[in-house]
């Protein structure tokens, strides 16, 4: 892990994945540092994936206590009260994650992430946040963007049968294989705030309904001062009212955001394990790609809905001005 070459131990352990992404990518992974906030089921899956992949370090932030709900979709928490009593979610998950790969340094950072300064985020190559309010997402994204070093930024949220990933890689230069050649590419990613500010009318016609639905719920929680995921079917009238306002403001038809979809997102706030596995897997792949600098990154939203089984990418960004 320290020298330039992979050790014999690493080569033996990582053989199968080196055959996928190459030794060079593996070396970069082993030097990378990942920050993770919000230890729910999907994030647990993601952490498992990157620890197995052999990143340099993973830092976990989640001061919440272990609850019944936390146990339901998070396989890193063993249901033994003696083991988790007095510990935070991050601490319990940390213990389990260490077992998956002794070569990865897994640790816990305590405190309110909103108060962490820009220099703190500068220690990492990728920051992944979940269970964050709209305000928190914007704040952390901005701090990451302030750094001259590129810190890859991701949000991930799963509600019932749906899951969403947002990616911001700022100015990203990477390489990819085209036929037999290696091609150099560059992409510019908008911040979270800029992305969600893109007028809905300006977006391509067939954008996933889930994008809009998630934005409505997000804004509702923000307006009502709720914690993320703290909604129920009783909120439906309020949400429908907000939808009407937003659609009017954006000059789009309300049918773009079906009632049934909003209902599902309001009711099924807990995570669904198969979706956690899928979203955690996609997110894991994205972070690995971004660290290794190889392969087309996901730009900039990914949605999955188990009801129709589609996993799709949406590029939500300002349409380029016609020159």
């Amino acid at each position: 892990m320290n020298g330039e070459e992979l050790t014999e131990q690493e080569t033996a352990l990582y053989d199968r994945q080196i055959r996928v992404w190459g030794a060079d990518a593996q070396r970069r992974l082993s030097k990378s540092h990942i920050l993770v906030y919000g230890m729910k089921g999907t994030v647990a899956e993601f952490c498992k994936n990157i620890v197995l992949a052999g990143v340099g370090s993973v830092t976990l932030v989640d001061d919440r206590e272990v609850t019944e709900e936390a146990l339901s979709a998070n396989f890193l928490i063993l249901p033994d009260e003696n083991l988790y009593h007095g510990k935070t979610l991050a601490e319990v998950c940390c213990d389990s994650l260490k077992e998956f790969n002794p070569m990865v340094h897994v640790s816990v950072e305590k405190g309110d992430i909103s108060t962490f300064g820009v220099e703190f985020f500068g220690k990492f190559d990728a920051v992944v946040i979940s269970c964050c309010s709209l305000a928190k997402k914007k704040l952390i994204n901005q701090k990451c963007r302030k750094l001259s070093k590129r810190v890859a930024f991701y949000t991930v949220d799963c509600r019932g049968s749906c899951g969403e990933i947002f990616v911001d890689l700022k100015d990203y230069k990477y390489s990819k294989k085209k036929l037999e050649e290696t091609v150099e590419c560059q992409l510019e990613f908008p911040s979270f705030e800029d992305t969600i500010s893109v007028p809905w009318k300006a977006l391509p016609k067939r954008v996933s309904k889930l994008y809009f639905a998630m934005r409505v719920i997000e804004q509702f929680e923000d307006a009502e001062g709720r914690n993320p995921g703290e909604t129920s079917i009783a909120d439906l009238p309020g949400v429908l009212k907000l939808r009407k306002e937003l659609c009017e403001t954006n000059s789009v038809n309300e049918s773009q955001i079906p009632d049934a979809l909003l209902e599902r997102l309001l009711m099924d706030t807990s995570e669904y394990p198969p979706v956690c596995a899928i979203i955690g897997g996609i997110l894991g792949q994205e972070v690995i790609k971004a660290i290794s600098g190889k392969g087309d990154p996901l730009k900039n939203f990914f949605f999955f809905d188990a009801i129709d089984g589609k996993g799709l990418i949406e590029d939500i960004s300002e349409p380029k001005p016609v020159s």
């Binding site: 199968r16 055959r19 063993l78 589609k310």
Partner: protein, 590 residues
């Protein structure tokens, strides 16, 4: 998603998982978290170090233990109150029969080879149990659902068979590196270190003229007391020098091809080797005997020069004779045998050099020789999630929502996960559909039908003999099948050599002998509700004739009034022996 109906369907379900590897670990974890309470899991493998990058239920300390058992123990740690029954066994064992499968509400496959997948597919069809199939390679994966009569079975679409190469390409005219690997592994390595009694296409005689000279010596015979270096040079010169010259002498072959150049050891190493090797007997305490270590070659990703490859060739040969003498004569290539991999890499590279084919690193060569499937945890996790989603649909009998889902590396129309509706069964699928085509005509008494089942590597001949009467009680079908199994025929010149699947080796005489002891006959009822596989031993009789039926023991006569079918994977001839025998015989009677 959390509807009452769904929860109770999951809670009460009995699920069979086949495979506790890459997909299996992820699947077992997700099933447990999703509320499944009765899971059975079959896997015959034990845990290896290279599994640990993705089979996260296993630890270093578990290496060597049963995957099924360790997976179960690991999941019980976070779901202590569910039932997981592990079987450290081969899914092809007879104990896993139709009755076993019938107990389950759904079967979930996480296998890595075609052979086992076919086996499970057929048993699921026989038991009429839904099957969710899956597979991953690198960033690619897919999940498919199979319900008898409603969707395609796993074999409705032909699956690509493992690549095989014509013998002459391997022995005389390689054009790709993989050809050199197959040569090095299945011919040279086998000849030097494997069973001496096996047939081998490598030219072993040192005579120039013909192979018939009685006095030519077997170059490969290593006489005791002989200097290993001399032996090594002799082998080297023979296979890389002499054999190439012999091949070159046939002008025809090289009309439209680049000529190979012979390579002799004196050109690469004019001096004695032991001086150059430096460290020779360093630390014989180490278990891992390695030519690379001995020669100071550190990086398996490096591409060695011809000289370096030649050094590795000699050194690995020397180390085999020096440190592993006892194993010589019994060795088969194993991708986890470092010394074997080194030898095969070196030999393949020298041959490649001779033929102008680009050289490869040990890392790459090992992947090719060992048929290593590249694999990562993330794809397996995604596929596992998709499997569980389909399994739940199956349990809810939500047939309109069944999907085959493809996990792509590059998005297609924005989609990374692409669901597709399953297809209807293929009407001419020889596994799951009914009867098939007509017999080639005319079939009359005395006709001999030659049948080849390419899938089972099995062929036989059936003599058709007409008889006027059949006992209604003892022979209700109006026909009888009996006979004997002929010893395998000698391979003809058209055989091919394969690099082999990860779990099966290239074709050999021995394998055929084992496979041909029983003739497998599939029975279907007239209404085609059940397909049961039944193995039947054919009684041994004198060669070439069908015996008088009255003298046969009961076990060779059928006792069900059913359509009998000999399953054949031959596009042209699919054979049924109809129970409408009378009309058939009436038509054909002279």
């Amino acid at each position: 998603m959390s509807s009452e109906e769904q929860l109770s369907a999951i809670k009460g379900a009995k699920v069979l998982m086949v495979g506790a590897g890459g997909i299996g670990c992820e699947l077992l974890k997700t099933l447990a978290l999703s509320g499944f309470q009765d899971i059975h899991i079959i896997d015959m493998d034990t845990i290896e170090v290279s599994n640990l990058n993705r089979q996260f239920l296993f630890r270093q300390s578990h290496v060597g233990q049963s995957k099924a058992k360790v997976a179960r123990d690991a999941v019980l740690r976070f779901r202590p109150n569910i039932s997981i029954t592990p079987y450290h066994a081969n899914v092809k064992e007879s104990g896993f029969n139709v009755d076993f499968y019938k107990e389950f509400d759904v079967v979930l496959n996480g296998l890595d080879n075609l052979d086992a997948r076919r086996h499970v597919n057929r048993l699921c069809l026989a038991a009429d149990v839904p099957l969710v199939e899956s597979g991953t390679t690198g960033f690619l994966g897919q999940v498919t659902v199979h319900l008898k009569g409603k969707t395609e079975c796993y074999e409705c679409q032909p699956k690509p068979a493992p690549k095989t190469y014509p013998v002459c390409t391997i022995t005389s005219t390689p054009s790709k590196f993989v050809h050199c690997i197959v040569w090095a592994k299945d011919l040279l390595f086998a000849k030097l270190f494997g069973d001496k009694n096996l047939e081998n296409d490598l030219n072993v005689r040192s005579s120039d003229a013909t192979n018939l000279s009685e006095h030519s010596e077997d170059v490969f015979e290593c006489r005791k007391g002989k200097d290993i270096e001399q032996y090594g040079r002799r082998i080297y010169d023979h296979v890389f020098g002499h054999n190439i010259e012999v091949a070159l002498s046939n002008e025809e072959t090289w009309k439209n091809r680049n000529r190979p150049r012979p390579i002799y050891s004196k050109d690469v190493f004019p001096d004695k080797l032991t001086k150059e090797n430096g460290k020779t007997e360093k630390g014989s305490a180490t278990d891992d005997v390695s030519a690379m270590a001995s020669l100071g070659l550190k990086n398996p990703q490096d591409i060695w020069s011809l000289a370096e490859n030649s050094r590795v060739f000699y050194e690995s040969l020397r180390l085999f004779f020096l440190k592993r003498q006892k194993e010589i004569g019994n060795l088969t290539f194993d991708k986890d045998d470092q010394l074997a991999v080194e030898f095969v890499t070196a030999a393949a590279n020298i041959r490649a050099s001779s033929f102008g084919i680009p050289l490869h690193s040990l890392f790459e060569a090992k992947g090719i020789a060992g048929n290593i499937v590249h694999a990562v945890a993330t794809t397996n996790a995604i596929i596992a999630g998709l499997i569980v989603i389909e399994a739940i649909k199956v349990l809810k009998k939500d047939s309109n929502s069944y999907r085959m889902t493809y996990c792509l590396e590059h998005p297609s129309k924005k989609l990374l996960l692409m669901p597709v509706e399953p297809y209807e069964p293929n009407k001419s699928c020889y596994v799951c559909s009914e009867a098939l085509s007509e017999l080639p005509s005319p079939v009359i008494s005395g006709t001999v039908l030659t049948i080849e089942d390419l899938q089972q590597e099995f062929s036989c001949r059936i003599n058709i003999k007409h008889r006027e009467e059949f006992d209604e009680e003892r022979e209700p079908d109006g026909m009888l099948l009996s006979g004997w199994v002929e010893a395998p025929v000698d391979k003809n010149n058209n055989k091919s050599i394969g690099n082999g699947e990860s779990t099966s080796s290239a074709l050999s005489m021995e394998e055929i002998q084992e496979g041909e002891k029983d003739v497998e006959i599939q029975e279907t009822s007239e209404s085609a509700e059940n397909v049961t596989g039944k193995k039947r031993k054919l009684s041994e009789v004198s060669k070439g004739t069908i015996p008088d039926h009255s003298g046969l023991p009961d076990e060779s006569s059928r006792n069900q009034n059913q359509l009998e079918k000999l399953d054949v994977d031959d596009e042209d001839d699919e054979l049924i022996i109809s129970n409408d025998w009378e009309s058939l015989t009436k038509k054909k009677r002279l």
